[in-house]
C-alpha cells in the first residue's frame, strides 16, 4: 500500500504508551464545570441559573450565531453556580457548575433526530453540539455547510493522530469501528460527497488492518497509510499528502474541494443519529511522566482534570506541567481544577524535569527550522523580525501562513521560542489590519 507523505515536519518520539489501554469509563464525579465556550466561534449564553435542576443531555447553553454549537449537561444534578471564570485563555468565560445527583436521569428531550434532507442533517449535527473532536473545536455543522457553489469531491477522515502520546483516536478506530463507517456514510449521503479517504499514520498497523477490513464493504471509502511524521494530521498537510492539493494561503479545505473531519467526530454523528444523545462524553488519553497509571478514559465533559488524573492512579510525582492536548500543540494549564472540554483528546502531566523550559541561545543559522517547516516558511527570519520589532516586514515573510505546529521550536538546537514569537507577530499583524 502506498505511503502518503508531505514535505518538512519533525519526528518526535511517538510515546504512544497507552496504545493497548482500552477506554474505561470513569463515571460521575463530585463536580462538573461546563464553560460556555468550548469551540471556535460565538460563546453560548447560559440557559440555566443557580438552583436549577438539570438532566443528562439537556441544553444548558446556546446562541443564535451560526458559527457556534449548543452545550449540554453531561449529568443530572443541581446547578450550583453560573459565573465567569478563567479557563485556559486569559479571558474569563461563563461557566455552569453542577453538583451531580448521581442518578444520571436523562432529559425528556432526548430522541433520535428526524433526518430526511441535507438541511435537516446539518441542523441535527448542530443540535448534537458536535465541534471538531480532533482538538481544534470548530463547529462541525459549519464545515458540512460550505458556501453555495463550492463542490466537494473528497471527504477526508483524519485518523492520523500525529501528536506524541495521544492514542484516543487510535482507540476509537479499534473500539468504535462500525460507528466510524456508519458516520462516514451519513456524511457522504447527506452532503452528496462521492468518496471518503481515511488517513492514518503507519505506526498504527492494527487500526489500519481493522479499518481496511471494514472498508472492504464500501466501494467509496478507502483507507490510506500516512508516513508517521508530525504534523501529518494538520489539515493542510493531510490534504496535501492524500490528494496532492495545497490549500492556498488564507483559504479553507473546501477551496480545494476537500472536507476534513476527525475520526471520532464521524463516529459520534452515527451514535447521535441513532440515539439523539448529544456530545457529553469524550475519549481522553491520560499520560505523561507524572501520571501513575496512564491510560484511556471515557470522561463526562466538565469533569475536573484532577478527577481524571485521580482515576488513573493520581500523580506519581509532583507535576511541573499540565497539558490539555498533545505536547506539540496542546495548551498548558495553570490548574487541575479546570474541566475536560469537548475538544480535549488528551491530558498530559509532566514531572518537573519533562515540564521544564530550556534556556534560549542565539540562532546559529543551521537551517533546521527552514527544513522542518511544513508551510515552507523561514521561521528563524520571522523570529528575528518580531524580536527586532520590525513589524512592517512580517507580511512579506508570510507570517499568517504559519499553522503554529511548533516543528521549528522542536528542532531548534538553540531552543529558541520561534513559534511563540510568530504568535506574537501574528497578533500584531491582526491588530494592524483592524485599524
Amino acid at each position: 500500500m502506498k505511503i502518503h507523505n508531505f514535505k518538512g515536519g519533525v519526528h518526535p518520539p511517538h510515546s504512544k504508551n497507552t496504545m493497548n489501554c482500552p477506554s474505561v469509563s470513569i463515571g460521575v464525579r463530585e463536580k462538573i464545570i461546563i464553560p460556555m465556550v468550548q469551540h471556535i466561534g460565538a460563546p453560548c449564553q447560559a440557559l440555566v441559573k443557580k438552583g436549577d435542576y438539570v438532566k443528562v443531555g439537556q441544553v444548558i447553553g446556546n446562541t443564535d450565531a451560526f458559527v457556534s454549537a449548543p452545550i449540554h449537561s453531561s449529568v443530572s444534578g443541581t446547578v450550583t453556580a453560573v459565573e465567569e471564570r478563567i479557563i485556559s485563555g486569559s479571558r474569563p468565560v461563563v461557566c455552569v457548575e453542577i453538583k451531580p445527583d448521581g442518578l444520571q436521569a436523562v432529559s425528556e428531550d432526548i430522541a433520535p433526530p428526524v433526518v430526511d434532507s441535507r438541511e435537516s442533517f446539518i441542523r441535527a449535527v448542530r443540535d448534537s453540539g458536535l465541534t471538531g473532536l480532533g482538538g481544534a473545536g470548530f463547529p462541525a455543522h459549519v464545515k458540512l455547510n460550505p458556501p453555495k457553489g463550492v463542490k466537494i469531491d473528497t471527504l477526508i477522515i483524519n485518523a492520523a493522530e500525529c501528536e506524541p502520546y495521544i492514542t484516543s483516536d487510535y482507540r476509537e478506530c479499534l473500539e468504535n469501528t462500525a460507528d466510524i463507517f456508519e458516520g462516514i456514510n451519513h456524511v457522504l449521503k447527506w452532503t452528496g460527497i462521492p468518496r471518503a479517504i481515511i488517513g492514518i499514520e503507519d505506526n498504527k498497523p492494527e487500526a489500519i488492518k481493522k479499518l481496511s477490513e471494514a472498508a472492504n464493504g464500501f466501494s467509496n471509502i478507502t483507507v490510506a497509510r500516512l508516513k508517521s511524521r508530525y504534523p501529518q494530521g494538520a489539515e493542510k498537510m493531510l490534504i496535501k499528502a492524500l490528494t496532492g492539493r495545497e490549500v492556498p494561503p488564507g483559504k479553507l479545505p473546501h477551496d480545494v474541494s476537500c472536507l476534513v473531519m476527525n475520526v471520532a467526530s464521524v463516529a459520534f454523528i452515527a451514535g447521535y443519529l441513532r440515539t439523539g444523545m448529544p456530545l457529553i462524553q469524550k475519549r481522553v488519553t491520560v499520560d505523561g511522566s507524572a501520571v501513575r497509571n496512564p491510560g484511556n478514559v471515557l470522561v463526562l465533559i466538565g469533569t475536573p482534570i484532577k478527577d481524571v488524573i485521580g482515576s488513573c492512579g493520581g500523580y506519581s510525582s509532583e507535576p511541573g506541567k499540565l497539558i490539555m492536548g498533545g505536547p506539540m500543540m496542546g495548551v498548558s494549564l495553570y490548574s487541575d481544577d479546570l474541566p475536560v472540554m469537548k475538544y480535549t483528546n488528551a491530558i498530559l502531566a509532566f514531572d518537573s524535569r519533562d515540564g521544564s523550559i530550556p534556556d534560549e541561545y542565539p540562532c546559529i543559522r543551521c537551517g533546521r527550522c527552514v527544513r522542518a517547516c511544513p508551510m515552507n516558511l523561514l521561521p528563524f527570519e520571522i523570529d528575528r523580525l518580531v524580536r527586532a520589532r520590525m513589524y512592517d516586514g512580517l507580511e512579506s515573510v508570510n507570517i499568517t501562513d504559519c499553522i503554529e505546529c511548533g516543528c521549528c521550536v522542536y528542532t531548534c538546537p538553540s531552543k529558541r521560542l520561534i513559534v511563540q514569537s510568530i504568535r506574537l507577530g501574528k497578533d500584531i499583524v491582526r491588530r494592524k489590519a483592524k485599524k
Binding site: P248, R292, Y315, G320, I364, R365, N376, L378
Partner: protein
Amino acid sequence: MDKGEYVLDNLINVSSSPHIRSGVTTRRLMLDVIIALIPASAAGIYFFGLRAALLIAVTVASCVLFEYLTRKALKRSNTIGDLSAVVTGLLLALNLPPELPLWMAIIGSFFAIVIVKQLFGGIGQNFLNPALAARAFLVISYGTRMTTWTQPSTYAAADAVSFATPLGALKEGGQLPDLIDMFIGNIGGSTGETSALALIIGGIYLLARGVITWHIPVVYIGTAGLFAWILGRDGLLTGNPLFHVLAGGLMIGAIFMATDYTTSPMTVKGMVIYAAGCGILTILFRMYTNMPEGVSYAILLMNVAVPIIDRFTKPGRFGGAANV
C-alpha cells in the same frame, strides 16, 4: 500525598506550545564536530609530530580565552560553554602549517574570535568562517611562514631540501606524490588537511549524527573534481580529478569549513548552489592564479554570497501555485 494528590500551586511552567524539544543542542553539535575532528588531528600529530599537538593546544586555548575575554569586555553573557570557540581553535590549527610560530597562531586566534566572530555579534552572526578568515589574514601578513611546509616524519624521500605540498609541486613543476600517500596523509600541507582518510571518517560521523547533510561536501568535491578534469593543464578534459580532490585543503574545506552553519545557506537548493560555487572557484584559483591553493578564498567568497543565495532560494509558498 501518597494518594498521588498534590496541591498544584507550583505550576510555574505554564507556557505556549510546543512543550517538548529534540535532544539536539548547539553544544552537542559543536561537541560532535570536535569528535569528528579527532581523526584528522591525530593524523596531523602522527605525520608532523608533537609540534602539531602543541599548535592545536595553543590555538584552542587562545580561542577560548579570547572568546571569554571579549564577552566579558563587551559585558555579554559568557559563551565558552557552547564549545564553538573550541571548534574554531581546532579548525584554525588544522588549517595552519605545523611549524608555524606559536605567536602567529595566537594572532590568528585573536583575528578569528575577536574580529570576525565577536565584533559581529558572536555565534551565528559572523558572515565569514572565523578560522578561514584568520588563515587568510595570516597568509597576507606572514606569507613566507604560512607557506613553509614540514616534511612528514614518515616521508621516504629523505634528501628533500625544500619541501613542497602536492599543489605547490604541481605549480612549480616538481615531482607529484603518490595518490595513496595523498589519501592517507603522508604529504606536506597544513596540520589537519593532509589525510583525506581521517577527514572522510570525521565526515561520515557528522553525517551519521545528522550534524551536516551530504549536499555541501558531495557537491563541493564533485564539482571540484569535474572542473579539475575539464580544465586540465594539458588541455580540456585532461586533468586528474583524483589528484585535485585529495590535494590541499579540499577535503577539510568541503567537509568541515564550507558546512559551517552560520556561513552557509539554509535550504538544500541554496547549499547545492553554494557548494558548486566553492568547487568551481577552488579549481579556478588553483589553475589560473599564482596561488597554489584556492580552497580558503573560494569558501570565503561564497560565504559572502550566502545572503544573496538565501534570498534567491527561498522555498516556494505553500499553496502559492494554483493547483486546484
